[in-house]
């Protein structure tokens, strides 16, 4: 990985040690004392990473989820899959660059990938509205997923969006309509669907490609009904309370598991996916292959039934005073 220019405040102690280590490693000649110090520093860095990344606050997770060096859909396409064969058409309005769709190969499996793309350069970010999709993006996603189902090809969705685009054109072209259509269709597609929140799982824009047989988040991703800034704006009339809002919304891995809305949290390499794309990609590949194998062994009709039941159970309420809640909460 090239050295990052985007350093989060809580990562700084790690970067400081890494710089010290780099200086020692560059030193010539190396005395036994320097070698000892190098070994000691390496251990210290690992310990420090473990300490910092083992105790992240929800807001720190949000910062990691938004880190510009975090692997995006196109990174996974390059590192996890043997080939990506993009299909662009929504057959109605235009090619939304915020959602990429196409066939891909993963070992012996042929799959359909649907993924948000935030963009790496300013030019790309502008072209895909920083990962905020328009109605045509969801329409494209639906048409490709339907085609995949028709030919028995499993679908893999990478979710990474701050939210669906809030703008005049998006409203004119039916943002609400197409997000609704996407969930509606995904719920009954007779092919395996795996959804992974790789960074930001922002609200309806995320859920629009999020109705699957397996739903997972990466360790430092979030999934929420509203952005922490939006929630803070409502509760405390100020965006500066986003930190508290991130905590209150229970939007990170452990809480999402407990609330029964995801199946798995995929562990990231120590220090975060943004520091090591290759290890992250390897873990992603393992997860996808294991789950594809499992889902493909099931009869297709039973898939849509169990997908229905999976979402059917979500929610917490009282009925005649008796609490209905997922197993993790009771």
């Amino acid at each position: 990985m090239p050295p990052t220019t985007h350093r989060l405040a809580f990562e700084r102690p790690i970067y400081d040690l890494e710089e010290r280590l780099a200086k020692l490693e560059a030193a010539t000649p190396k005395t036994p004392a320097i070698d000892d110090e190098i070994h000691r520093l390496r251990r210290e860095i690992t310990d420090l990473r473990r300490k910092i990344f083992g105790n992240l606050e929800p807001w720190q997770t949000v910062q990691l989820a938004r880190h510009p060096d975090r692997p995006m859909t196109t990174d996974y396409l390059a590192l996890v899959f043997d080939e990506f064969y993009e299909l662009h058409g929504d057959k109605s309005f235009g090619d939304d660059r915020a959602i990429r769709t196409g066939f891909a190969k993963l070992d012996q499996y042929k799959v359909m990938v649907v993924g948000h793309q935030k963009g790496k350069t300013l030019k790309e970010r502008n072209a895909c509205f920083f990962g905020c999709a328009h109605p045509e993006g969801y329409r494209k996603a639906i048409s490709k997923m339907k085609m995949a189902a028709k030919y028995g090809v499993p679908v893999i969705c990478f979710i990474d969006t701050p939210g669906a685009y809030p703008g005049i054109s998006a409203e004119e072209r039916g943002q609400a309509q197409w997000i609704a259509n996407a969930m509606f269709e995904m719920s009954r597609l007779p092919t395996p669907i795996i959804c992974i929140v790789i960074g930001e799982g922002g609200s309806g824009g995320a859920l629009g490609i999020g109705v699957g047989d397996k739903v997972a988040t990466l360790e430092h991703a979030y999934y929420s009904v509203i952005s922490p800034e939006g929630c803070a704006g409502i509760l405390w009339k100020s965006h500066t309370f986003a930190e508290q809002a991130a905590k209150a919304l229970k939007m990170t891995g452990k809480d999402l598991l407990r609330l029964g809305v995801i199946d798995d949290v995929i562990e990231e390499p120590l220090g975060g996916a943004h520091r090591d794309h290759h290890s992250m990609a390897a873990r992603m590949k393992m997860y996808l292959i294991r789950n594809l194998r499992e889902l493909l062994s099931k009869p297709r009709e039973s898939l849509t039934d169990s997908r229905y039941e999976k979402f059917r159970k979500m929610g917490v309420f009282f009925e005649d005073g008796v609490l209905h809640a997922p197993a993790g909460m009771t």
């Binding site: 669906a164 809030p166 703008g167 005049i168 998006a170 409203e171 004119e172 072209r173 039916g174 943002q175 609400a176 309509q177 997000i179 609704a180 259509n181 969930m183 509606f184 269709e185 719920s187 009954r188 609200s203 309806g204 859920l207 629009g208 999020g210 109705v211 999934y223 929420s224 009904v225 509203i226 939006g230 929630c231 704006g233 409502i234 509760l235 209150a248 919304l249 229970k250 939007m251 999402l256 609330l259 809305v261 997908r307 229905y308 979402f311 059917r312 979500m314 929610g315 917490v316 309420f317 009282f318 009925e319 005649d320 609490l323 209905h324 809640a325 909460m329």
Partner: protein
Amino acid sequence: MSTGEQELGNSQAKVRPKRGVPEGLWKRCPGCEQTIFRKAVEDRMGVCPECDYHWYVSAGDRIKQLLDDGTFEEWDVNLTAGDPLEFNDKKPYSERVKSEQKRTGMKDAIITGHGMIRARRVAIGVTDSAFIMGSMGSVVGERLTRLIERATQQNLPLIIVSASGGGARMHEGILSLMQMAKVSAALARYDLAGGLYISVLTNPTMGGVAASFASLGDVIFAEPRALIGFAGPRTIQATIRIELPKGFQTSEFLLEHGFVDRIVRRHDLKSEIARTIDYCGK
């Protein structure tokens, strides 16, 4: 998903009469800004006699307006909200729910059940924007899902009237978001079973409600001049920083762009629903 919430709060409060508080003989119409004799509005189903402005109506009154007298039976009345996030929004969520229940006389932001429309039995759900902005949490999601499942089993036409400025309810976090998928999945099954779903959009229908069941009708009606959309106007304004066009996100705007089948005045709603059911042979 709850972007509409704070934006609509003020204008809603002006329109909505406080329950239990003695009201004056007159009320001011937000449509024509004239002072109107209250009784004249109430006699016309909450529609302004001068300018046709459609006021807020409670879910209970809506059901009275739509169903044949004495035919309504409520389903799942004993569902109430949990507090899975232990959320505190100036007051704890569980207390907020209690005070909303007391103020509105409802258990949550929805009433569901079955009854007759001109002697045709239907399954019906109505959300109420007076209860936490009509937002959808687990109770609204669960009651709607059970409603749709019963409509599927009993082969009933399904009517859902939306009045939800709040979208998915922030106070229940991700669980509220998932209700969108849950209800949409139930509608997908109902659709496969050949069911007829008429969705009625009223002022306001925003966020996660607009982006799920409200948009999934086989036929979609909207009351005149209702605010309907995905993102709240303020959120959009903050993002794009240009003036929003006049009439943006109104029923008429949606009709023009092809997302609504008909704009239906409140007085005609019952007969238009019956007519559609007849055309579909349900």
